[in-house]
């Protein structure tokens, strides 16, 4: 068993367990913490796939940025009512059937993937190439993404502003 195989199984178990905890735990705040664990585990999957830069982006943007926003939102809404938000689930069986159906549908495609598809050989570090792509052919897309982020954050500020 290579290091990558062992790492994959450990990360897979952590990722699946924390994902299940996100959708099943009754405490909303705990669900957010489990989501943080799932996001970090996803970052480690990126690391296993030789993408250290995406691992860093995942940690910085997702695990820290998104978590901060979500925790703020929960704190704000809890302050407003002055009571704990517990979350309940409904239609557990129906939801489970639909989710299982979707997974089986995807699995139908997965079994057609050739089993022994080799990894493409690693040509140096992907990060410099990624940077060149972002300022080269994808420069316009990157700028548009910046505009989108600014607009989204301004919109969020406008929505959540205090009433005059």
């Amino acid at each position: 068993m290579t290091l990558e195989t062992a790492g994959f199984w450990v990360v897979a178990v952590v990722l699946l367990a924390s994902s299940l905890a996100v959708v099943l735990t009754p405490n909303l705040f705990h669900a957010v913490l489990y989501l943080a664990a799932a996001l970090v585990a996803t970052g480690v999957v990126f690391l296993l796939l030789d993408s250290p830069f995406l691992f860093a982006v995942q940690l910085l943007l997702y695990a820290v940025g998104v978590m901060a926003i979500v925790v703020f939102a929960i704190m704000l809404t809890e302050r407003l009512v002055g009571e704990r938000i517990t979350q309940t689930s409904r239609h557990l069986v129906n939801g489970g059937v639909v989710a299982a159906g979707v997974f089986i549908g995807i699995a139908g495609f997965l079994i057609r993937v050739p089993r022994s598809l080799p990894r493409a050989p690693l040509v140096g570090d992907a990060t410099p190439a990624l940077g060149r792509a972002l300022v080269g052919p994808f420069a316009l897309t990157l700028e548009l993404l910046g505009v989108l982020l600014v607009v989204a954050l301004l919109g969020a500020l406008y929505f959540a502003r205090a009433d005059e």
Binding site: V23, S51, P121, L134
Partner: protein, 99 residues
Amino acid sequence: MSLTAYLTLAALVFAIGLFGVLTRRNAIGILLGIELMFNAVNINLVAFARFHGDLLGLVFTLFTIAITVAEVAVGLAIVIVIFRVRRTVEADRLDLLRG
């Protein structure tokens, strides 16, 4: 590990996220499920990029991550506004737009 292993892991996470979206009553809980589904898609993109030796998948993953952050910010702002107006974030009781 083979490509199939990564894709299966992503499909499982996607199904779990979908389950959360379908069964949660709380709007924030639904958003968390959507986050899980986004993550599964990102795993797929990176896995395909790595196994085909194509950089495009990584670039696309960067863009999806950034777009997701924007989506979360707007979504949670909407949740906070709904909370101010209706005093609840239960998706079942948010039927203002029902005709």
